[in-house]
């Protein structure tokens, strides 16, 4: 067997994947060829390195670390479930607050406007009223017309 042929099969020889005949031929070659023997040692050492890397003993802290992590996940899950179960209550409180605030602000605005407009009884007073609210001319004439109508009725 020549070096080139041996090099092609060397890893299979090292991993014990060859037929008896091929194995014997390579063994005979390795006895006489230092170069191929060196390469064989490289493969042998590589497989030995992999073998050495294997962990064979149980790490006693592995499970305690793991259960700690799982407990944290479970606690988070419980918090999320609690928040979800209370979600309906939170939504109800928020909705009632909004309703209460809108009713209250409506009442507040309504009463202050009534207070302001209640004092205006003649045309001069209306000027002040219209000025404060930027009301246009049409509205002013409508107001004057309504005053005239009232006067005519009184006559």
């Amino acid at each position: 067997m020549k070096c080139k042929e041996v090099n092609k099969e060397l890893i299979f020889y090292t991993d014990n994947n060859l037929s008896k005949e091929k194995k014997q031929a390579i063994e005979n070659h390795l006895k006489t060829c230092a170069h191929c023997r060196n390469l064989y040692n490289v493969f042998k050492e590589s497989f030995e390195i992999i073998e050495k890397e294997k962990i064979k003993e149980l790490d006693s802290f592995f499970y305690s670390h793991l259960s700690e992590k799982i407990n944290q996940i479970e606690n988070k899950k419980e918090k999320v479930i609690w928040l979800k179960s209370k979600q309906v209550y939170f939504q109800a409180i928020a909705a009632s607050l909004i309703i209460f605030l809108s009713i209250y602000s409506g009442i507040f605005l309504g009463t202050t406007n009534l207070d302001k407009s209640a004092n205006y009884t003649n045309s001069e007073d209306y000027e002040l009223f219209a000025e404060s609210y930027n009301l246009n001319q049409n509205t002013k004439s409508t107001y004057e017309m309504s005053l005239l109508e009232i006067e005519e009725k009184n006559k």
Binding site: F12, L39, S46, F47, E53, I55, F62, L66
Partner: protein, 186 residues
């Protein structure tokens, strides 16, 4: 306790049963993860993630498949995801390594040459393994780091036994080529 009973007990929130499962498969899972990432601390972290995933999804497990097949498949997927995520930050890591190696050179004036040589050989075999195509790497790692049979590997990878044989053949051929190239250049 057999695997089916173990799963039923875990599904019924029996923490002792889960501890038994972890202790039964812990070293195998760590070895598989280590075969992919070549770092024992990272392998331990990935193995923890594997068991958390098992804990979370044990209700979805169907007893048609073997428990160990399911666990090893999760281990392979988690390890590959870890490698993919790490690749994204590779340039940052290489910068970090540059500074660490400088520090080591300055601090260790008395270097054990035998240890250095072994470290270099380990690095070379890791590089050769990392250069393999993903499927070849999975088959080789499961076979060499956890001594799984071709049949078990075929179940984990969901391929035929002959495909596993072919992957193993090509993985060894490629490793042989890489190692010969490296040592002939030397």
């Amino acid at each position: 306790m057999d695997d089916n009973q173990l799963i039923k007990n875990i599904q019924n929130k029996d923490s002792k049963a889960f501890q038994t499962l972890v202790e039964r498969h812990q070293t195998k899972v760590i070895n598989i993860c280590n075969g992919f990432v070549h770092n024992k601390d990272d392998a331990q972290d990935i193995a923890q993630e594997v068991f958390i995933e098992i804990y979370k999804s044990i209700d979805k497990f169907r007893s048609e498949a073997k428990l160990s097949t399911w666990i090893y498949r999760i281990s392979v997927n988690k390890s590959l995801n870890f490698i993919r995520d790490n690749k994204k930050n590779k340039w940052l890591q290489s910068l970090d390594l540059l500074f660490v190696s400088d520090k080591n050179i300055n601090n260790n004036s008395f270097i054990d040459e035998d240890k250095l040589e072994e470290e270099e050989k380990t690095k070379i075999i890791h590089q050769a393994l990392n250069s393999l195509a993903e499927n070849q790497k999975i088959a080789f790692t499961l076979n060499k780091y956890e001594d799984l049979s071709y049949k078990e590997i075929s179940e984990i990878m969901k391929i035929s036994i002959s495909s596993v044989e072919s992957l193993m053949f090509r993985a060894k051929k490629n490793l042989q080529k890489k190692l010969i190239n490296y040592y002939q250049k030397k």
